[in-house]
C-alpha cells in the first residue's frame, strides 16, 4: 500500500466524522494559534525595536555626570562639563565621531494654527496612531546629527557657532516638519517656542518610513543648540551621547573618556558613568526573552494537551474500527499498512488543525501586535513553517501508540469484534 492510498483513506475517514474531527482538532488549533501568536508577536516586536535602534545608530556611548550639590532653591549646582568634554572628544577623533548632549525638555511650540500643547498621542480602535503627535524637543551640539544617524535633507545642520553665539535656530526631524508645515518648506520659517522665536534652518531626512509606525516617534523631534537652554529655562544637560567609529573604538573611547572624567569630576560632590547605549537594549531583550519563554511554555502545555486529545480520539477510533482492522488484515493488510493508515490519519488530523491554527495565530499576532505594540506584525515565514511541521509531528508522536495498538490486533480477535 502506498502513501497516496493511505492519505486518501485517512482523508475519507476524517471527512466521515466531521464533527468529531473538528472537536479533536480544536486542541491543536488552539495550541498552535497560541504558540504562533506569542512567538510571532515577540519576534516581530524584537525585530522592530532592533530596526529602531539600527535607525538611531549603533556604537553609541552614554556619558552621564551627576552632582549631589543643590542650591537653596533645590536646583542642581552641577557644573556644565560639556565644553570640556566636547573638546576632549574632538581631540580623540580616531575613536570618536561626535558628541552631543541628549537632554530633552518640554515647551510649547507654535507655528500658525499648529500648537504642540493641543497635540497628543492618540490611537484609533485598531491601534493606529491618529492626528498629530507632539514633537520631542532636544538640546544638541553641532554633532547631534552624527551621533543620531541623521542627515540634512533641506537647509543646513546646526553648527558650533549656533551654540557659541546663542543663535535662536533649530533643525526639525522629518515627521515634526510634516506636522507643523505640511508640504510647505519649513526652512526660513520661524517657530515660537515658549514665546521665543526660533528660525528653522534645516530639516533632517526621515530615518524610518512614516508607514512603519516607528517613524512617527523617532523622526518627530526638533533639535535646538544646547546653549538655548538659558532662553528656554531648562537645566544644564548632564547626559551626553558619544558616537564611536566602531565597536572596537567604542571600548577604547569608553576607557579614555572615563579616564578624562576621573580627573575632571569631583567625586566628593558627584560622579560619572560611561556605558554603552545598547546595554539597556540588551536588558530589554533579555526581559522579552524571559516573557516569551514563560508564555511559550504555557502555549506548549496547551499543545501537549491537544496532542493527548488526539491520542485519546485515535484510541477510540481504533477500538471502534477493530472489526474493520480485522477485515483489512484478513484480506491481506500487513501490520505496517495498518500502522501507516492510522499514523497518517493522526498526522492529517493534526496537520489540518495546524493550518487552521496558523490562520488563527496570524490573526492573533496581528491583534496582539496592534494592541500591545501598536505594530502590524505578520508571522515570519519560518514561524509558519515551524508551526505546521510541529502540528504534523504532534500527530505522528501521539498517533504512534494507537496505530501500533491497532496493528497488534490479532486478525481472528479483530474479526470477532462487533
Amino acid at each position: 500500500m502506498n502513501i497516496r492510498q493511505a492519505v486518501k483513506m485517512a482523508w475519507k475517514s476524517i471527512l466521515g466524522k466531521k464533527g468529531r474531527s473538528v472537536l479533536t482538532m480544536l486542541g491543536i488549533i488552539i495550541g498552535i494559534a497560541a504558540v504562533m501568536t506569542i512567538v510571532s508577536a515577540m519576534n516581530g516586536y524584537t525585530e522592530k525595536t532592533m530596526e529602531q535602534y539600527a535607525a538611531m545608530g549603533s556604537n553609541q556611548l552614554t556619558v552621564s555626570i551627576y552632582s549631589w550639590m543643590v542650591d537653596e532653591d533645590g536646583n542642581s549646582m552641577a557644573k556644565d562639563y560639556f565644553p570640556d568634554l566636547y573638546d576632549y572628544c574632538n581631540g580623540i577623533k580616531d575613536y570618536v565621531m561626535g558628541i552631543t548632549p541628549t537632554g530633552s525638555f518640554s515647551a510649547t511650540v507654535v507655528y500658525g494654527t499648529k500648537n504642540s500643547s493641543n497635540m497628543q498621542y492618540s490611537y484609533d480602535e485598531q491601534g493606529n496612531p491618529t492626528g498629530d503627535f507632539p514633537p520631542s524637543l532636544y538640546l544638541g551640539s553641532d554633532q547631534y546629527s552624527i551621533c543620531n544617524n541623521l542627515t540634512v535633507q533641506k537647509g543646513r545642520d546646526l553648527t558650533a557657532l549656533d551654540s557659541s553665539r546663542y543663535n535662536q535656530v533649530c533643525v526639525m526631524g522629518a515627521m515634526a516638519a510634516k506636522t507643523f508645515f505640511g508640504s510647505v518648506d519649513p526652512v526660513g520659517k520661524t517657530l515660537q517656542v515658549n514665546g521665543q522665536n526660533f528660525d528653522v534652518v534645516g530639516v533632517y531626512a526621515a530615518r524610518m518610513g512614516e508607514d512603519s509606525g516607528s517613524g512617527r516617534y523617532i523622526d518627530n523631534f526638533i533639535v535646538f543648540p544646547y546653549t538655548a537652554n538659558r532662553l528656554l529655562g531648562s537645566e544644564v544637560s548632564s547626559e551626553f551621547v558619544v558616537k564611536a567609529r566602531s565597536a572596537d573604538a567604542m571600548v577604547e573611547a569608553s576607557s579614555r573618556i572615563g579616564g578624562f572624567l576621573k580627573g575632571l569630576v569631583n567625586t566628593n560632590t558627584g560622579g560619572y558613568n560611561v556605558y554603552p547605549q545598547n546595554q539597556w537594549q540588551q536588558y530589554q531583550n533579555e526581559q522579552m526573552g524571559m516573557i516569551s519563554l514563560v508564555l511559550g511554555g504555557i502555549a506548549a502545555i496547551s499543545l501537549l494537551v491537544g496532542g493527548i486529545g488526539i491520542m485519546n480520539i485515535m484510541l477510540v477510533t481504533v477500538t471502534e474500527r477493530t472489526r474493520e482492522i480485522g477485515i483489512r488484515r484478513a484480506i491481506g493488510a500487513q501490520r505496517s499498512s495498518i500502522v501507516t493508515q492510522f499514523l497518517i490519519e493522526a498526522a492529517m488530523l493534526c496537520g489540518i488543525g495546524g493550518i487552521f491554527g496558523i490562520l488563527l495565530g496570524t490573526a492573533g499576532s496581528l491583534v496582539v501586535g496592534k494592541l500591545m505594540f501598536q505594530m502590524t506584525i505578520y508571522p515570519a515565514a519560518w514561524i509558519t513553517a515551524c508551526a505546521f511541521s510541529l502540528s504534523v509531528a504532534l500527530g505522528i508522536v501521539f498517533g504512534i501508540y494507537p496505530a501500533v495498538k491497532a496493528s497488534n490486533l490479532q486478525p481472528v480477535e479483530a474479526l470477532r469484534a462487533e
Binding site: Q5, I331, A333, P411, V412
Partner: protein
Amino acid sequence: MAHLVELRTVYKIYGEGLESEVRALDGVSLTIEKGEFVAVVGQSGSGKSTMMNVLGCLDIPTRGDYFLDGTDVRELTDKELSLIRNKQIGFIFQQYNLIQSLTVLENVELPLIYQGINADDRHDMAMEALERVGLAGRVKHKPTEMSGGQQQRVAIARAIATKPPIIMADEPTGALDSHTGHEVLQFLQQLNREGSTVILITHDNGIAATARRIVRLQDGKIVKDEVQEVDWL
C-alpha cells in the same frame, strides 16, 4: 507434488492446562488437493470455525503442522502470512465483512491496493470481479444501501478479485434467504468448475450436499471424511 492443504495432527487448545481447557481442534489431520470442493460440516462448537481460521492463516495452531502448498505456515512471519491471505486465499464470511465507509468498488479494490497494484489495473480487475457477480452497475453504492444478497455478492467479488487459488467460505448463506443462498452456492460451484479450490464451512447438511467431499467435525475431531455425489445447482 505437495498437497495444496495439509494438516498434520493439528491442535488448537484454549486455556491449555487449565480445568476449563477447550480443545477446538483435537489432533486433526486433513489433506485437500487442488481443485477440490470440500464442505467442512459440524454443529456449532464442533471446531469448524477454528479450522477455517487455521486453514485461512488467520490463526496459528497450538500444536501440529500446517503445510500450505508445501510451505510450513508455522515458520512464516506475520508479513508472509498477510501475503498468503492476500494472494492465495479469498475469504467469504457469513456477515459479509464489508467496510461500511467504503463504496462497493473500493471494497473490492481493497485487496488489490494491499498488493500494490496501480489504480488503472486495480479498477479493471475490481470491475471484472463485480461484473461476474452481476453488480457492475452499483459500484458507487455503500454496502448499507444494498440487500444482504447483494452485499454477499460484493464480498464474493472482493474474494475473487485477486484470482486466488483457494476460496474459503464460512457459512456464506447463513444470513441469506434460501433463494439468494442458492445463488451464492451456485456461484461457488461455478468457481470450482473453473479450477478454484473451494472450502465451505457450514452446519447445514443440505448446503454441504453441494460439495463433492464432506468432512464432518465433532468436538474438534474429524468423524467422517467421504466423497459423495454432488448436488449440482
